[in-house]
Symmetry: C2
Subunit: 230 residues, 2 copies
C-alpha cells in the first residue's frame, strides 16, 4: 500500500479558467469598479464562446464582485465607503470568532505556517510588490479562519476577502507612492503565538490594520468626485 497523497486533479474546464482569469483581473484592479463586461469582446479575447464565459460570470456575480442587470449587462461592483466599512466591521467579528475556535487547536504546524505566511508578507514588502503584498497579508490573516475548523466560516471569510482585496488594490493603485514599510503584522503574529486569547481577540477587534482608515478616506473621496465608472 503506497501512502503517497495526491492532490485533486486540476479543473480542466474552460469555465474554471475563465473564472480565475476574471477574478484576478477584478481583484488586481485591471477591471475598474463599475466597468461593464462586454461578453462578445471578452469571449473573443479569450478565444472561447460566450457560454462558458457567461457561466463564469454568473459565479462571480454570486461571489459578490460582479453585478448583473438583465438585458443591460454585467458590471464590476461599485465600491462605496459604506461597503468597505460594512465588510471591515463584519470581518472583525469573524476574526474574533475564528480566534476563539482555533485557539486550542494551535500546534507547531500552525506556528510554522504562521511564520511562513508572515515571511511572505515581509518578502513582498521588501520587493515593493504591492499587489502581492495585499495578497500575502490577506493570506496571513486567513490562517486563523482555516484553522478554526468551520467550513461555513472559512467560506464566508473568503467571500469577504475577495472584496477587501479589491478595495486595497484600488487604493494602492490610486496612490502610486510607496507601501507601508513598517511591518504592522508583528504584534498580530506575536499575539497569536502567545497565551492570551482575549488579548488576541481584542487586537483583532480594535487594531485598524492595513491602513484601513486611509482606505476609507480614499473611498469617501471617490464618492465625492464620481468618475466615468458609475
Amino acid at each position: 500500500m503506497v501512502k503517497t497523497e495526491f492532490s485533486p486533479i486540476a479543473d480542466t474546464t474552460r469555465r474554471a479558467e475563465i473564472v480565475a482569469l476574471l477574478r484576478r483581473a477584478i481583484l488586481t484592479g485591471q477591471l475598474e469598479p463599475g466597468q461593464k463586461l462586454n461578453e462578445l469582446r471578452i469571449s473573443e479575447q479569450m478565444r472561447v464562446s460566450r457560454a462558458p464565459l457567461r457561466e463564469a460570470m454568473r459565479e462571480l456575480v454570486q461571489e459578490g464582485i460582479l453585478t448583473s442587470i438583465p438585458y443591460a449587462g454585467t458590471f464590476v461592483i461599485n465600491v462605496t465607503a459604506k461597503d468597505i466599512d460594512d465588510a471591515y466591521s463584519l470581518n472583525k467579528v469573524l476574526d474574533e470568532f475564528a480566534i476563539e475556535r482555533m485557539w486550542k487547536q494551535r500546534d507547531q504546524r500552525f506556528f510554522d505556517e504562521l511564520d511562513r505566511r508572515h515571511d511572505a508578507v515581509k518578502q513582498a514588502t521588501r520587493d515593493r510588490d504591492t499587489t502581492r503584498q495585499i495578497e500575502t497579508a490577506l493570506q496571513l490573516h486567513g490562517l486563523i479562519h482555516e484553522w478554526a475548523d468551520n467550513s461555513v466560516l472559512l467560506e464566508t471569510w473568503q467571500r469577504l476577502t475577495s472584496r477587501l482585496q479589491m478595495y486595497f488594490a484600488l487604493h494602492q493603485q490610486a496612490r502610486r507612492e510607496a507601501v507601508p514599510a513598517e511591518d504592522v503584522h508583528e504584534t498580530y503574529v506575536a499575539l497569536l503565538k502567545g497565551g492570551d486569547m482575549r488579548a488576541a481577540q481584542r487586537h483583532a477587534r480594535e487594531h485598524i490594520d492595513l491602513d484601513f482608515e486611509e482606505l476609507l478616506a480614499y473611498a469617501r473621496d471617490l464618492e465625492r468626485r464620481p468618475s466615468k465608472g458609475s
Copy 2:
C-alpha cells in the same frame, strides 16, 4: 412630484425563474441531498434549453446549496452534522453582531414588522404547515439582519439561512409527526422589544432555537446509516 414607491421590476429572464424553482425544490426537500441533477431531464421538464438552466445551477453552486464536479454532474449538497453545527454556531455570532448594530435603529416600524412576522409564524403553526413554519421563523429571525444596515452581513446571513432552511425541512420531513406547538419565539420577540441589549444578545447566543438539538441528532443519525444519497 408623486411619492409612490415602486418595487423593482420582476426579473424576466428564464434564468431567474429557474433559479427560484430549483432553490425552492432544494430548500423544501423535494430534491434530496446528494441527488444528481440531470440537465437534459430538468431542461425538458421546464421546457427551457440547457443554457439558462446551467447558468442557474452555477448560481446555486456559488450559493452553496449545490456542488459541481466537472464532467460528472451537479448535486444537491450533502448535509453533515458538522455542517449544521458550523452553520449554527456562526449564525449565533452573526445574530449577536446584528443585534448590536440594529439596536439603536429600532423604531415603531421595526416593532410592527416584528409583530407581523411573529404572527406569520404563529399562523403557520396553527395551520400545521411545517414548510411555511420554517420559512416564516427564519424570516422572523432575519429581521434583525435586515435592520442592522450592513449589506455584507445581510448577504452572509441569507446564505446561511438557505442551508438552515434546507436542514430543517429535511428534518421535518423525516419525522412526520406534529410540529412544536409551543411558540418558542415569545421570549425572543419580547427581548427585542425590551431595553436590555445584552440580554437579547445573550438569548441569541445561548438559546437553542428551533429544536436545533433534535436536528443535530437527526443529522448524526443519518450519517451513521448512510442512504443512497451519498
